[in-house]
Structures are given as structure tokens and as C-alpha cells.
Symmetry: C2
Subunit: 414 residues, 2 copies
């Protein structure tokens, strides 16, 4: 008997008919001899409707505590409806809000972090042969206040519960059927991966692949619970996210990702002595601006250029702060550019293969694409290029590293 945690997103439970379909799938999993915990999101559109209601109050930013009380009703509706639907199929299900299931968090409303999960109620429920239906995205703090985990929190809830229960697998049902080597809307030749390591998935999630929330992957990595990302609309096997040693199909490059809506800021003519970088970046981080890549180059005249990227939404604020900081540290000029894109290749195989970077740069050069910034990690190479070349870059890198001949598996390291 396996213990399976299943998570269904908002589209999968978008209306009563779909909820009934989910109920059938859950029951089939139970009947196959498993214990089942089901974690659900709010019905598609529900959360936006609640946000709109709050906006219609017309005042300033609503109170964070109360906003969580409001949003958490979305998932509560779904757990009730799904439990009813399972009951109507003749099986017993019991619903649990975040508080009822023992999901304890800190009090950072709107983006709470899980502190611990008391699984005793869920275990009792499962031991009774009952299906446990839990609300994703929500918990309670130490004082019993309702909290929410922030965007993508339902993935995190599901994986965290799977880890706490020591589940055999956490199945993430979504409206795509797995993790692809690139965005299929941009790269028609993109193909579904059978499996991918936690580390690769983390890089892909943070780089713009929207399949799986990055926090949930971190949990799974820590506890070693395999995640199976698959479609709720068919029975096809999806993509397994698992430990490196369990990944069968090991490619040099597992995925090519792109991230638009980036912006670049360059601070020129900075005196090159210790402490300068801190003076530039401290005010930015104090303002809560997330800085992605940072690159520093020494100029011939002994000064240095600092370039960094931020999300386009924070560009104006970041530029203003950078200008103020620049005049303080005696920089000569600040330049900004909002028409950039970040392209990355990700793969565990890179660790063992020299020359991947060279192949990447050559491929881009042969398409006439200029590289503005480069940043690398053990299993990833990212470059910033002009935005208009993003799709071309993606397709040519996918062809180079992943399509046909390019995709030969890496031999296992002896």
C-alpha cells in the first residue's frame, strides 16, 4: 500500500463537472490500494474574484491579516465540494482547512512560511480508510490566525505534506502534461522530459518554467519525496522530479528557458575599491528590490562598470535608487535598458562536459545574437540578450543541445 499525495490546481477543479472528474481519479487511486491525500487550489477565477471584491471596497491596501481570511475561503470551497463529490461516488472523504490539518506557519500574512505540520489528524483519517482532502495555500499561525503561503502556495502545501507524511510520491496535476525541454509555444520541437533532477527543476522553475512552484521543489529536495507532474485531463505519465541518482535519462542539457520582463541597469565609471558594491546594492535591497544577475568588469582606466538585472516591474524604482547611489559613490553615469531577455540552458550533464558554454556562445553568435551579460552556475548558463532575439535564441539553443542527435544521453560517470 502506497501513500500518495495528489495536488489539483485551479483549472483542474474549475467547475463542478471537473471536480467530479477529479473525484473519480482520486477514488481510482484509492481503489488501486493506496492511501490518498488530496490537496486542492481555489477554483479557477475564484481568487481573482475575491481580490476584486476587496478592491471594490475602494480604500487603501487592505489589511494583510484580513486579506488572508478572505482568500482562504477559495480553497475551503473546493475541499468541501470535492469531499461531497467523493462521497457521492460512495467513498468516504473528509475535508481539512489549513488550521484543521495542522499546517502551522509564521505570521507573515500573504507569504507565510511553513513552520511545522502536525500530521496526527491526517494519519488518523488515512488509517480509517478515509480520503483526506486538504486546502492548499493556507495555514494558521501560533495564535490561530489564518495565513496564506503566497502565489503557488498549493504546490508547496502538497509537497510539504507529502514530506511530513513520508509519502511515496506527490502527484502534481496541472493543465500541462509535464515538464518540457522548452516552452512548446515558442519551440515547436520541445519535448516532454521523462524525469528531471530536483536541482535542474529548481533552476528551471526560477528561470521561468511555470509548471512547479520553486518552494515546493526545495521541500522535495530536502526530504527526497519524488514529484510526478502530470495532466489532470488524461492518464499519460508526466515528468518525474526526483533525486539525481534516480533520473534515468541524463542529458547534457535538460532544458532551455527564457525569461522576459527583465531590465538591466549599468553603473559606469565606479572607483574600484572595497565597499563600493555594498554602497550600491544596500539601498536597493533595503527597498525590497530583487536583484538577479550582477556582473562587474574592470575598465582600462582603473574604474569599473557594474551591471545588474531586475524585473521590469521594479525597473523605475531601481533606476531612481541606483542614480542616487551612483552620485554618492562618484560613478560617472547610470544607463538603463528595458528591452532585454534572459536565456538559460540547464542540465546536470554540464558538470562533466567542458565546452558547453563555448557551444552555447557559438550557437548564438552564428545567429548574429550579441551577448550582453553572462552568468553561470554548476548546472546552468544564463545570458542576457536583446529581447527581440529571445525566441530565435531559444529555438537555436534547443536545436543545438536537445533535438535529435544533440540529445544523446551522457554516459554514467564511473
Amino acid at each position: 500500500m502506497a501513500l500518495i499525495v495528489q495536488k489539483y490546481g485551479g483549472t483542474s477543479v474549475g467547475d463542478p463537472v471537473r471536480i467530479r472528474n477529479v473525484a473519480k481519479r482520486v477514488v481510482a487511486t484509492l481503489e488501486a490500494g493506496n492511501q490518498v491525500v488530496v490537496c486542492v487550489s481555489a477554483m479557477r477565477g475564484e481568487t481573482n474574484g475575491l481580490v476584486e471584491l476587496a478592491q471594490q471596497l475602494g480604500g487603501e491596501q487592505p489589511d494583510a491579516r484580513e486579506f488572508d481570511v478572505l482568500l482562504s475561503t477559495g480553497e475551503q470551497k473546493t475541499i468541501a465540494l470535492l469531499s461531497m463529490a467523493i462521497g457521492q461516488l460512495g467513498f468516504e472523504a473528509r475535508s481539512f482547512t489549513g488550521g484543521q490539518m495542522g499546517m502551522h506557519t509564521d505570521s507573515d500574512f500573504g507569504r507565510a512560511r511553513i513552520s511545522d505540520i502536525d500530521c496526527s489528524t491526517l494519519r488518523e483519517t488515512l488509517d480509517d480508510g478515509v480520503i483526506a482532502v486538504i486546502a492548499g495555500f493556507q495555514g494558521v499561525d501560533g495564535a490561530g490566525n489564518i495565513t496564506t503561503l503566497g502565489r503557488g502556495g498549493s504546490d508547496t502545501s502538497a509537497v510539504a505534506v507529502a514530506c511530513a507524511l513520508g509519502a511515496d510520491v506527490c502527484e502534481i496535476y496541472t493543465d500541462v502534461d509535464g515538464v518540457y525541454t522548452a516552452d512548446p509555444r515558442v519551440v515547436p520541437n520541445a519535448r516532454k522530459l521523462h524525469s528531471v533532477s530536483y536541482e535542474e527543476m529548481l533552476e528551471m522553475a526560477s528561470l521561468g518554467a511555470k509548471v512547479l512552484q520553486i518552494r515546493s521543489v526545495k521541500f522535495a529536495t530536502q526530504y527526497g519525496v519524488p514529484i510526478h507532474v502530470r495532466s489532470s485531463f488524461n492518464d499519460a505519465e508526466g515528468t518525474w522530479v526526483m533525486s539525481e541518482e534516480d533520473v534515468m535519462e541524463r542529458l547534457v542539457v535538460s532544458g532551455v528557458t527564457h525569461k522576459l520582463n527583465e531590465a538591466k541597469i549599468r553603473v559606469k565609471g565606479v572607483q574600484d575599491h572595497p565597499g563600493i558594491a555594498g554602497k550600491l546594492f544596500a539601498p536597493l535591497s533595503q527597498a525590497g528590490i530583487l536583484i538577479d544577475m550582477i556582473v562587474q568588469n574592470l575598465s582600462s582606466d582603473g574604474t569599473t562598470d557594474m551591471t545588474f538585472t531586475v524585473s521590469r516591474a521594479e525597473y523605475n524604482k531601481a533606476l531612481e535608487i541606483a542614480n542616487a547611489a551612483a552620485s554618492e559613490i562618484g560613478a560617472s553615469e547610470v544607463e538603463g535598458d528595458q528591452s532585454i531577455a534572459k536565456i538559460s540552458i540547464v542540465g546536470l550533464g554540464m558538470q562533466d562536459h567542458a565546452g558547453v558554454a563555448t557551444r552555447m556562445f557559438t550557437t548564438l553568435a552564428s545567429e548574429g545574437i550579441n551577448i550582453q551579460l553572462i552568468s553561470t552556475s554548476e548546472i546552468k548558463i544564463s545570458v542576457v540578450i536583446e529581447e527581440k532575439y529571445a525566441e530565435l535564441a531559444l529555438r537555436s539553443l534547443h536545436a543545438e543541445f536537445i533535438e535529435d542527435g544533440a540529445a544523446e544521453p551522457v554516459a554514467d560517470v564511473p
Copy 2:
């Protein structure tokens, strides 16, 4: 400093604009130097929407526990929105679900009864100068399951909390501006009562006046908390429901009520010996049929006729059961009639005034209205008449007992 519990119904919090208006009223009550607890219903239409969603699942009767999980989201939305709106006015409010506020009930899902209220959290909140916004209609059972109190439960929540906190008053805001001497849609001369005793209100509530839920009046009676029924759309004083000794304006008859959708069943030729009535009514009550009036008359031939009334919705079921029971007890015939109405006059003043019944019967007779059944209590006389005369009866009794000269106050009993 007074402690005031306010309750706003679904129409009063029907949309964000109205919620803002409620927030202003709540804040004004606080600024007048009071501590305030606000109890709210689901937004108008919300509960029906949730019921429809459950129906769209298309299966059999949904699980009662899960139905309560679903319905309770309605009030949870309102408490969040109202707390936000109060916050946006610059005042601090904190929302509480039934579980969070310590509303403990039994486990009879869908119609749970309050077992006790742990007021410690509410008291702390009030002592901090914070407005407490609580969800009506809902609680938790001993195992932490969400429960609902059934129809009209929000009134009950508000009054029960007012009693538990020892509040100075429980204000029930609704879409009418008080309790009337009769339904103004039927009796144009009906007028608003300044005050009415708990006992009279109980009789009026159970007889069809829809202003205040009967269970809430029972709570208030027990703990002596005054209820002020008033409109959320203006500042006019409404009607006070309070102890008999506090009621200033003591009339012979405080109200004339009517109840349609009644039906009558007559079992004829019953042998008049002990135990017969039990044999007739036991199967009816086992079937969950609520019997209202029961009248028994002795015939000249030594047999007896039993007549009773039920709601029209249960008429067919009741008739079937009565027929079966009749043949068992050797009754000669069973007759039914669905076109009846019950008309009642209610008033504490009746206790001291002989002749009220006579005046009632004479008034009806002078309009040519035949009385089919009579039932009396200390402060109420009810008659069953042909349905088509209901409005005429109501208007003539109202004219006789309440309008102009008729309404002279009763002298205080020495």
C-alpha cells in the same frame, strides 16, 4: 462605556459599497464611546450560490459535514471584507470565524445547537480597543469540525454572543425598520412598535413575523439582553425587544399575525378512550412532521373528532400517515383541507383583560368569517379560517385592537 453587539444581515452587507456603509456605522458606534462586536451574515445571494454549486455536482444529498464547510465560507468572506473596510477608515478591526471566536456547538451539522461560548479572545480584542467582527451562523464542534446553526443562525449567533459577553444591547440591523403590529404589505395601517416583550416577540416570530429568528429571542429571554431591531439604511430608532417590565407602551394586543401555507387534517369518529391520541400522533412525529394546533371535540354519539394542522409542504405525507393510523384505531373517516390560514392576536395585555377572545370572535363574525379552529395561550389567540379571508381578517382585527382609539395603553397592574 457600553458594550454593543451589532448584527447585519445579508442585504445590509450585500455588496462592497454597503459593507463600507456598515463599516461607517460600526466606527460611529465605537467613536461614541462603546465597545463593539459586529456579527455578519453572508452577502446576499452568496449562500444560494454555494447551494447551487453543490447541486451542480449532480449527485445525491451532499454530505452534511462538508455542506457546512462550504456554507461557512459565505460569512468568512463578509468578516474579512468588513474588517478591511473598517481598517481603511483608520480603525482597527479583527475578524473571527466561528471556531476562532470560541463558538462551540454540538455536531448536528446544518442545524447545530450552541453548547458554550468561550469569550476570552473576544474580551481581549475589545479590551485592546479593537472592533471584533464575527461570522454569524457558524461554530465548531468538540472535534474542531465546522458546523452551521441552520436558517436564521446569524441572529442566534449575535444574541448568544451578546448574552455570553453580558452586552448592554444586541442591535439587529435588517432591511425593515422594526417590528410592526401587522404585515404592512397587507395592513396599510400597521405601525411600528416602540417596544415589545420577549414573550410577545416569541409568539410573533413563531407565528410568521419574519423579523427576528425565534431561537435568538429565546437566548435573549434567558439572559435578559435587550434586542434593538432596526434598519441598516437609516438612523431611525427601531423596535426594542425586552423584558416585560421594561416595555413602556403596553397594549392589549401588540400584533396581529397571519400564517399561510397551512393545512388541516381531521380524523373523525375516533373511539374516545385513553391512548388513542398517542396512537395517532406518534407515527406523525416519528416521520418528523411538525404538528401545530391540535383540537379535540366530543361528538354526541360518544366518539370524538381530532383535528390538527401541519405546514402545507408536509400535508401529503401527513395525510398518508393519518390515513394509516386512522384505520388502525378504527376511526370512521379522514378529511383534509389545504386552503386555510392561521390568524393570531398577540399581547401581554390579554392576560389582564377578559373579553379579548369574545371581541376577536365578534369582529370576525361581523365580517362573515367562519372560525374553524381555536387555540389559545396566555398571551395569544389563534384561529384557523378559510384562506381567502386571511387579509380581511387581518385588517379587521388590526382595526379593532390596534388602530386609533383601540390602542389605548393598558393601565399598569397595581
